[in-house]
């Protein structure tokens, strides 16, 4: 059953040298309860497509074609057209029926607002809940995305969480009003590899449990091969190839797809997909997967206030992090979790840690 249908969508932008097409006549059909991967190199128009679904493109961008959102229950009437929809119509769709998770949770969560406020303001607006009910729902959501100590987390601010936890919170924010469609724009790109698996695993579970429809935008074919049911490959604003994951990854028809797959770090596509699948399996087995630390990999263990001496790995959840301690949130992502094979490309761990540091208060204050 179709949930969201994109037909002949064209996005163009007025530039000084005339109208430039960013997306040219693409068709994508999202089926309910499936993860639809949209892959392509940066600049291929995939993020623009996701933003178009929420009618959030910059004002200069012109949209033609059709994006239709089917009602939750087909007996309820016709699909809603999003292209050209009024502010009122979009206001009832955004966050309520279609939600979005952004690439980098350290910029998509407001650094100056508490998690509680960011989790409840749209819930109260869309669902008309009072403060207490909204808070109860927020706790429930945080529990569902496995953020430790949900009640305490509500009073905290994004910078007090690790990168992986922040993205879980961002997912909780997106799911807060029980939407039908989730747009996930590179939801794991800014995260450390070990944390990526956990977030993808969470996404998969949510889809399986709640019949959610997901449009997963990514440039990472490894991520795509691990969780997507359907895959669409984009290049320069056009669709190159589209089909079930298995078919695209084993028997790509298009030369560009073959080139992309060949560029994957694993020696063969299947191998790479297998590796990630293994990681997923491993992640599923761990209770608080990537946020766990292997004590042998963590040199400053003795500095942690409640590091147990009996060799059990200490869990570095945010609750354990004393304010102003030397442990930066990003470092929690660094060590590889036991049993996780180190994937090629795990150097991202470093860049993610730097990102977290630059998030810190000192950086903020220098340009004040």
């Amino acid at each position: 059953m179709n949930s969201l249908t994109i037909e002949n969508l064209t996005i163009s932008v007025a530039t000084s040298s005339g109208q430039r097409e960013i997306v040219s006549g693409i068709d994508i059909t999202l089926e309910r309860g499936r993860i639809h991967g949209l892959a392509g190199e940066s600049g291929s128009g995939k993020t623009m497509t996701a933003l178009a679904v929420l009618n959030l493109l910059p004002e200069r961008a012109q949209l033609t074609g059709s994006i239709r959102l089917a009602p939750r229950d087909t007996t309820l009437g016709d699909p809603t057209e999003i292209v050209g929809a009024s502010k009122r119509v979009m206001g009832a769709i955004r966050g309520r029926r279609i939600a979005m998770v952004f690439q980098d949770p350290s910029t998509s969560l407001h650094p100056q607002l508490s998690i509680g406020q960011q989790l409840t303001d749209h819930v109260r607006h869309h669902l008309g809940l009072n403060k207490r009910d909204a808070t109860a729902r927020a706790v429930e959501l945080l529990t569902r995305v496995r953020v430790p100590n949900p009640e305490g987390a509500l009073k905290r601010y994004p910078h007090q969480f690790s990168g992986g936890q922040r993205q879980r919170i961002a997912i909780a924010v997106a799911l807060a009003c029980d939407p039908e469609v989730l747009l996930a724009d590179e939801p794991t790109t800014a995260l450390d590899v070990t944390v990526q698996a956990g977030v993808l695993q969470l996404l998969r579970e949510l889809v399986d449990e709640t019949n959610l429809t997901v449009l997963l935008v990514t440039h990472d074919l490894g991520v795509m091969s691990a969780v997507a049911d359907e895959v669409t490959i984009m290049k320069a604003g056009r669709i190159v190839e589209s089909g079930p994951r298995q078919r695209i990854f084993t028997a790509p028809e298009h030369e560009y797809t073959r080139a992309l797959l060949a560029a994957l770090p694993g020696s063969t596509v299947e191998e790479d997909a297998d590796t990630l699948a293994q990681q997923l399996a491993a992640a599923a087995e761990l209770p608080d997967d990537a946020e766990r630390l292997d004590d042998t990999d963590f040199p400053d263990r003795s500095e942690l206030p409640d590091a147990p001496g009996d060799g059990t790995p200490p869990s570095l959840s945010d609750a354990d992090l004393p304010i102003g301690s030397s442990v930066l949130p990003g470092q929690a992502d660094l060590p590889d979790v036991a049993g996780f094979p180190s994937r090629p490309g795990s150097h991202r761990a470093e860049s993610s840690a730097t990102l977290d540091i630059s998030d810190g208060p000192d950086e903020e204050r220098t340009h004040v």
């Binding site: 206001g91 998509s108 407001h110 924010v173």
Partner: protein, 352 residues
């Protein structure tokens, strides 16, 4: 107007206590610096304070000059004079003004609240108007509203305050008889009992409504003149700050959540722009104090600006020193308030 650098320095002690100690230390240093600069300036220049204070005739009589010098302590070497001043300062003695023949402290107790009354009125008004207009301009970027607001705010920045003050005085008092004349109160009213030194506040505290209304009416034009300039400054700045925030992921995320535009602006955009805006408001308050000198002279407002002008033109050393000191303190106070507000609006500053 930068936040304290102390945040990274020490690890011991409560962060706020550490911050406060750091602040007080730098404050003392700045106050000493300010007095030193004022002192040097007023002594290293060709003007003769004795002649300025006594007039040409008396200045030619050696006996009068000697007694004047002894009375104000200017017969001592400069270094001694400066340390005597600092020593007296510790006891709250700012010396006696040769211009007003009052202790400088008493003079300042009248002048400072008078200036703060217009300055605070103007900054509050400017922040409200400037934030609204600046945000509006950013949201209407490139459209007619933006262009109109740009011209208006640049005009506000370009009007000579002393001239505008005169024009408004001429129109509203001289021609239309709407505004009251110069000064802080009309002659028929007695000043309310002094508590804060701000006539409006004191009148309210004493429950004298008629006095409050009259004092507010007298405040209106000076505040309006000062507001115009500051509004221009803030509108331009808020526009830039908001434009930067509008590009942020979290604003897009807030829109993606389907929040109404009003909520996005107030909770997300303005909260995000609050730190740079607070910084510029602090700076604007400084430039506003500058403007008071000219405005006070037009409206015969007995404030710090008028006092500084009188003291400066008479080369009244204790008076100038007193003004310098007060300005140093106001500057530090503004900094402190801005820093505290940083920590109110930004949890990252609070917990640093």
């Amino acid at each position: 107007m930068r936040p304290a650098r102390a945040t990274r320095a020490g690890r011991t002690g409560h962060p706020f206590a550490r911050y406060l100690i750091q602040r007080i230390l730098t404050s003392l240093l700045l106050v000493v610096g300010v007095t030193l600069v004022t002192f040097t300036l007023t002594n290293l220049v060709p003007g003769d304070p004795v002649a300025a204070a006594l007039g040409q005739h008396a200045a030619e009589d050696p006996a009068i000059v000697a007694s004047f010098r002894a009375h104000y302590g200017v017969d001592q070497p400069l270094v001694v004079q400066y340390f005597t001043y600092l020593g007296n300062l510790v006891h709250g003695d700012l010396g006696e003004s040769p211009t007003t023949h009052h202790p400088v402290l008493e003079d300042l107790q009248v002048a400072v609240p008078a200036t703060l009354e217009i300055a605070i009125g103007a900054i509050v008004l400017s922040v409200i108007i400037g934030v609204v207009l600046g945000t509006l301009a950013a949201y209407r970027r490139g459209k007619v509203t933006d262009h109109v607001l740009r011209v208006v705010s640049l005009l506000g920045l370009s009007v000579p305050t002393f001239w505008l003050a005169l024009v408004l005085y001429y129109v509203f008092f001289f021609k239309l008889h709407i505004a009251p004349g110069s000064g802080r109160l009309s002659a028929i009213y007695a000043a309310p009992p002094t508590v804060t030194g701000m006539t409006t506040v004191d009148a309210l505290l004493a429950g004298q409504w008629d006095v409050f209304l009259d004092a507010s009416a007298h405040l209106f034009l000076p505040v309006l003149v000062l507001t115009l300039y500051t509004v221009g400054l803030l509108t331009r700045f808020v526009r830039t700050a908001v434009l930067e925030i509008l590009d942020m992921d979290y604003v897009r995320a807030a829109r993606a959540k389907g929040l109404p535009g009003r909520t996005v602006v107030w909770s997300y955009v303005l909260r995000g722009a609050s730190i740079p805006v607070l910084t510029i408001v602090g700076l604007a308050f400084g430039s506003l104090l500058s403007g008071t000198v000219l405005v006070e002279s037009v409206f015969s407002w007995p404030g710090l600006g008028s006092y500084a002008f009188k003291a400066a033109s008479n080369l009244d050393l204790p008076g100038i020193m007193g003004v310098g000191l007060v300005i140093g303190i106001i500057y530090l106070g503004t900094n402190l308030i801005v820093d505290l507000l940083y920590s109110v609006v930004d949890p990252r500053v609070r917990l640093a």
